[in-house]
Homo-oligomer: 341 residues x 2
C-alpha cells in the first residue's frame, strides 16, 4: 500500500470538497485528478483513510468529507501557501498606506482581509503592554478633573479621566507632565513601573496624592489586558457564502465572535505557536460555537517583534492556502506601515 498515494487522495478530497462543498466519491476523484488508478483502488485507500480518522462519510452511501484531523494533515503537510500576485500585493500596500491614523490602519486592514478571503476578518489593536510609550499628556478639564492621554509608538492613543482630591495647580501639572515624559519616553511597560514609583518620591508630600493617582491610572491602563481591543469585519460573508456551510444556524458562530473574551483567548493561544501562520481547525478552537469554523492568524509588529495578531475566520471547509497567503501578506504590510510611522 502506497502511503504517498493515500496522502494524494486526501489532498484531492480536501481540494474537491472545498471547491464543490459536496461529499466527494471515488469516481469523481479519479475523473478530476489524474491519479492513474481505478475508482475501486481509491475506495480501498479511502477505507484506510477513514479507518485512520482523516475522512468520514455523512451517510452510509454518500461520498467522503475531511475531518478536522484530515484538514490538519492537509494544512501541515500537503498544502503550499500560494503567494499573491504582484498586482494584488501592490493593491494591498497602496490601500494600507493611505490610512490617516492608527484607527484607520486597523480599519482598512480588517476590511482588506475580509475582502481578500471572503470570510470574517479580525485585527487586534497593537498591545499596550508590548508597545513603547511615546508621550504622556495631562490636560486639566475643569478645576478637579484631569485628562490623562497616553500615546504609544504604534500610534495608539488611550485616555482616562481622573478626579482629584484637591484643586489642580497649573504649574504642578506642567511640572508633572515634563517629569513623566522624561521618565517614560520610549520605554516599555516592563521597564516602566519601577521608574514611575521612584518618580512619586521626587515630589513634595503635599503633591504626592496627585502624583500617585496619576501614576496609578497610567499603570492601570497599561495593565488592562482585557482592554485589548479587536475589530471584526465581514460577518456578512459568513451568511452569504457560508450560509449553507454551517449545518446548524450561524447564530452560535456570531455569538462566539461577539464574545471578545473568546477571541482574545484564541488569539493569545495562537501567539504561542511556532509557525509563522497559525491555524486552528474546528474543535481545536475549544469552543462549542466554533466547531465548524477555523481560525487562520499570524502576528504583526514593529522591528522588535510581534505586538498583536491579524487573522481570518471561516468554515473549516475553507481555502487554507489562499487564506494563509492573504493573512500573511496583510500582516507584512501592516508591520511595514507601523514601523514607518
Amino acid at each position: 500500500m502506497s502511503d504517498d498515494r493515500r496522502l494524494d487522495v486526501l489532498r484531492a478530497i480536501v481540494e474537491d470538497y472545498v471547491a464543490t462543498r459536496e461529499p466527494v466519491g471515488s469516481r469523481a476523484l479519479v475523473e478530476r485528478h489524474m491519479l492513474g488508478v481505478s475508482p475501486a483502488t481509491i475506495r480501498n485507500d479511502m477505507a484506510a483513510l477513514e479507518e485512520a480518522g482523516y475522512i468520514a462519510q455523512p451517510h452510509t452511501s454518500a461520498g467522503r468529507v475531511p475531518t478536522d484531523k484530515g484538514y490538519r494533515v492537509f494544512v501541515d503537510r500537503l498544502s503550499t501557501v500560494k503567494p499573491l500576485s504582484a498586482p494584488e500585493r501592490r493593491a494591498i500596500g497602496s490601500f494600507l498606506e493611505d490610512a490617516v491614523d492608527l484607527d484607520d490602519v486597523v480599519d482598512r486592514s480588517v476590511r482588506l482581509i475580509a475582502q481578500l478571503t471572503q470570510q470574517v476578518a479580525v485585527v487586534q489593536y497593537p498591545s499596550l503592554r508590548r508597545s513603547a510609550l511615546r508621550h504622556i499628556e495631562l490636560v486639566p478639564v475643569g478645576p478637579r478633573h484631569l485628562l490623562v492621554v497616553l500615546i504609544t509608538d504604534t500610534g495608539r492613543v488611550e485616555q482616562r479621566t481622573l478626579e482629584t482630591d484637591a484643586e489642580l495647580d497649573e504649574l504642578l501639572v506642567a511640572r508633572l507632565r515634563v517629569q513623566l515624559n522624561v521618565c517614560v519616553a520610549g520605554r516599555r511597560l516592563s521597564e516602566l513601573t519601577g521608574a514611575l514609583d521612584t518618580l512619586t518620591a521626587a515630589f513634595e508630600p503635599v503633591h504626592v496624592s496627585l502624583v500617585a493617582s496619576v501614576v496609578t491610572i497610567i499603570e492601570e491602563t497599561l495593565a488592562q489586558e482585557s482592554e485589548e481591543r479587536v475589530v471584526l469585519a465581514g460577518t456578512a460573508n459568513l451568511a452569504r457564502v457560508g450560509g449553507a456551510d454551517f449545518v446548524g444556524t450561524l447564530g452560535p458562530v456570531l455569538e462566539a465572535l461577539e464574545e471578545q473574551v473568546v477571541l482574545m483567548r484564541l488569539l493569545s493561544e495562537m501567539a504561542e505557536d511556532e509557525a509563522t501562520v497559525s491555524v486552528r481547525i474546528g474543535r481545536e478552537t475549544q469552543h462549542a460555537g466554533l466547531l465548524e469554523t477555523s481560525f487562520v492568524t499570524t502576528g504583526y509588529g514593529d522591528e522588535h517583534g510581534a505586538i498583536a495578531r491579524v487573522g481570518s475566520i471561516g468554515p473549516t471547509r475553507m481555502d487554507y492556502p489562499g487564506t494563509m497567503a492573504a493573512v500573511r501578506a496583510v500582516a507584512r504590510y501592516l508591520t511595514r506601515i507601523l514601523a514607518g510611522s
Copy 2:
C-alpha cells in the same frame, strides 16, 4: 362602521403577530382580546383594513399580517411607549457610569441596547462637527513628523500625523500649541475656521508653512463627516431570535449593516425627524437589504442639544413600544454621562 374598532383590530393584529410570529386569524383575535363581537364581524373589518393596505394575507387561506403601512399606523397612533421599571433604569445608569472613557461609554451603551432589545444596536460617536474642542496637543515624533491630537468636550480623541517640510523647532511648536489652544478652546467648528485663519497671519513668514499645514489638518479632520464612526453590537441576535424572521437569508441584512454609508445616511435622515424617537419601517429605509428590518433611533447629546444618535435595528415585526423605551432610556443616560464628564 366603527373606525375605532377597526383600529383596535389593527392594534390587536400587530400585538398578536409580534408575540406569536404567525399570521393571526379572526377567531384567535376575538379569543385573545375582548373585542365583544363575533369573528365574522372581525372578518369584515379585516377585509376593510386589507383594502386600505394596513394588513395582508400571505396565502389565500392564512391569517393576516401587518404591512409596513400597518406598523406605521401602529407606531404613530396606537402604541404608547411603556416606561422601563425603576430597577431597569437604575441598572442602566450604574452600568454606564462605570465607563472609564468615551470608547468605553460607547461600547457599553451599544451592548446595553443590544441586550435590552435583543436586537442589533447601533451607537454613533459624538459628532466632531457639533462638539466643542477642549484641547489641542502637538507632539513632535522624530525630526520631521508632528502628531496632532484633538480632544473634544465629549471626550473624543482624534489624531493625525503630519510630515513637515523643515525640521521641527521645539520652541516654535510650543508657541503654536499655546496659541492654538487659546484660539480654539471651547469653540465649535462653525466658529473656528475664521479664528484659525487669522492665527496663521500672526506668525512670521518663515513659519507660515508649518502653521498653515497644522491648521489645514485640523480643519480637514473636523470636516470629515465621513469619518463619523458608528459601532454595532448584537448581530448575533439577528441570527438567534430573528433567524426565522427573515424570509430570505439574513445575508443582505448583515451586508447592509456593514456598509457604514448606509447606516450613516439613515441616521442622518432620521436626525431630521421631529419626534424624539424616530422610527423607520421596512421599505422606509430605502434600502433593498433592509426591506424586512426597522430602525428605531433617537438623539443623545449634551446640554446644547443632540450630537449623535443611538438606536436599535430589528425585524419589522419587532416590539416597537419596548424598543422605543429602551433606546430612549439609554440615550437619556448617555446624555447625562457626557454632560457630567
